[in-house]
């Protein structure tokens, strides 16, 4: 299609997302901290909406966190990714969907670098062959898991059991979104809406009945910073950046935060706990925090999945006020049960932050 005028300008901010046939690679951080989000991505995309989504047990980390913590050379990171491409070729897929934004940025960076410096791609092919006796095809399409949910947001809305609406007032919930730095700051054309108008999350929120709230530090980093969180001595950087975001969003009284990144929901959740314990300050209503959810958790709530199956109990900020507002039913007695309803005690409670 030939775009002209304003249509041409806006075409730069749009992204063609394939409908089906995906090779799925998981996220190190999300498997550890939000395992049920990945579980429900598969449930929603494959089981509920009937799409072809394939996963092999043989895929590994992409090495992105080790790479961005500067602990491995660039060619090591590239060859690990080339191996993932080789697994995709073996399985007969051409569309790669990654659960992690660090991975998404890593894949985009590698493919762009190879495009610009083809001799490097040749060298990586040689490395992979020597190390693993493997060959690969580059994916025809790389996208992030949130792109897929964005693509399917209308189908999810059609099957919705709950909407992002305050059932007491009928007003839309006030939602702030955090898209994560490596989604489109490095390669704006790779993200829905680019770096200037990212709408991958706001599109979901609006489709499901919520109201997206703008605030001054909407695009500021969550504060991960790789080594700036992973090393204990550096965490002042991490919490300072998160604190800046919360101070900025507080006057807009959000009901929830929807996040894109693997680390962002963790930092936006856990640093609220630390800020509360250190200073007594809380950002939600009556001593509670503001729930920071993944897009799968929010899609899952809209679709009527049980909040404890979605893993909302392993956030430090309690989700109950949000669930009550949306009218989502939940059984408090089942919140902390283990596998097969096993009693595995309950977590301790924070001193300041109210959690239920």
């Amino acid at each position: 299609m030939i775009y002209q005028g304003k249509q041409k300008i806006w075409s730069d901010y749009q992204k063609d997302i394939p409908d089906d046939h995906w090779f799925y690679v998981r996220s190190c951080i999300r498997q550890n901290f939000f395992p049920a989000s990945e579980t429900h991505f598969v449930k929603i995309v494959r089981d509920l909406l009937g799409k072809d989504l394939y996963e092999t047990e043989h895929h590994t980390t992409c090495g992105g966190i080790a790479y961005h913590s500067d602990t491995i050379p660039q060619e090591t990171a590239m060859t690990i990714v080339a191996r993932q491409f080789s697994l995709m070729k073996e399985a007969g897929y051409k569309n790669l969907v990654t659960s992690c934004i660090t991975s998404f940025g890593n894949y985009c960076e590698i493919l762009e670098t190879w495009r610009e410096f083809p001799e490097l791609e040749t060298r990586i092919r040689e490395h992979l062959w020597k190390a693993c006796r493997r060959e690969f095809d580059k994916p025809e399409y790389v996208c992030h898991a949130s792109d897929v949910i964005f693509k399917l947001r209308g189908e999810i809305a059609e099957k919705a059991k709950f909407r992002l609406v305050d059932r007491a007032t009928g007003e839309p919930l006030r939602v702030v979104e955090h898209i994560g730095c490596h989604y489109s700051k490095m390669f704006p054309h790779k993200g829905v809406g680019g770096a200037e108008y990212p709408c991958v999350l706001s599109g979901m929120v609006e489709s499901w009945g919520g109201q997206v709230i703008d605030y001054p530090e909407r695009r500021h980093c969550c504060g991960f910073g790789f080594r700036q969180y992973l090393v204990k001595a550096n965490r002042g950087y991490s919490i300072s950046n998160t604190h800046k975001k919360f101070e900025s969003m507080e006057p807009y009284r959000p009901d929830l935060i929807i996040t894109n990144c693997p680390g962002c929901p963790y930092f936006l959740d856990r640093w609220q706990y630390v800020i509360a314990e250190q200073t007594g300050k809380t950002y939600g209503k009556d001593g509670h925090g503001i729930p920071a959810l993944t897009y799968e958790e929010l899609a899952g709530l809209v679709l009527g999945y049980d909040p404890w199956d979605l893993g909302l109990q392993i956030h430090q900020v309690g989700p109950e006020l949000l669930l009550d507002k949306m009218g989502v039913p939940y059984d408090p007695a089942r919140k902390y049960l283990g596998l097969n309803e096993k009693d595995i005690m309950k977590p301790g409670l924070p001193t300041v932050l109210k959690c239920c």
Binding site: Q74, H182, L230, C355
Partner: protein, 234 residues
């Protein structure tokens, strides 16, 4: 080893990240690290553009190259399509390769980072894993995650994971044949050599500081001297 500037020029991130910097300071204005740390990416790019070997060596041995969080916010905003964050990655890579990282407190943190992350990658197939994530080192993960760590199999499998088991799924056991391929990739691409280089220079530094390797590991992971932040005196 050629001139330091020439070495930097071999790094693809340097080729991508530094074209012609006009020193406008937009990168510093947008930078989350510059807001809190004594960090100014504009000055770093300016220093490199002067191609002065002594200045570049001082940079490679400095604290300042370790303050960046690699969020790449600078890449979006630079009016000349530079990427200060990419240049930082090239500087850190060279600093690690030459052992200069042990000259600064923030650089020395490369030792605990390298051991923890690559231990996870090579032994488990993950960069991060609950099996090696200790609550003691991460009290900010909160009482809820202390509970998760105390009941890993029950909680993860309750949430649909496949904790430590064969087959696909979250938190699965990565087969040994795949871990062997990762090790072969490290051996082939310089990853193993990098791990050995960081270990060698770190242990030399530990000895110089009068610490055992274990003490040095703990110290570099936990210790923060005053003076790094904008609101602190050195």
């Amino acid at each position: 080893m050629g001139k330091l500037y020439d070495e930097l020029c071999k790094d693809y991130r340097f080729k991508e990240g530094l074209h012609t910097c006009i020193n406008c300071g937009t990168c510093t204005a947008i930078c989350p690290a510059a807001e809190f740390y004594k960090y100014d990416p504009r000055k770093i790019l300016d220093t490199i553009q002067r191609k002065d070997e002594a200045e570049i060596e001082a940079l490679l041995k400095s604290e300042t190259i370790w303050y960046c969080g690699e969020c790449m916010s600078c890449v979006t905003r630079c009016p000349r399509k530079n990427g200060a964050g990419l240049v930082i990655m090239a500087l850190r890579n060279l600093s690690a390769k030459l052992g200069y990282f042990t000259c600064s407190e923030k650089g020395r943190q490369l030792y605990p980072l390298t051991k923890a992350l690559n231990g996870n990658v090579l032994n488990l197939g993950y960069c991060v894993h609950a099996a090696t994530f200790s609550y003691e080192d991460h009290p900010e993960s909160g009482p809820v995650f202390e509970w998760v760590l105390n009941h890993k199999e029950d909680v993860y499998n309750r949430l649909g994971a496949n904790y430590g088991q064969e087959g696909p799924g979250a938190m699965r056991k990565i087969p040994q044949e795949d871990l062997d391929e990762l090790k072969a990739i490290y051996d082939e691409t310089g990853g193993t050599e990098r791990l050995e280089t960081v270990e060698k220079y770190s242990l030399e530094k530990a000895k110089e500081m009068g610490m055992t390797p274990e003490e040095y590991l703990k110290y570099t992971f936990s210790h923060c001297s005053p003076g790094h932040f904008n609101n602190e005196e050195a």
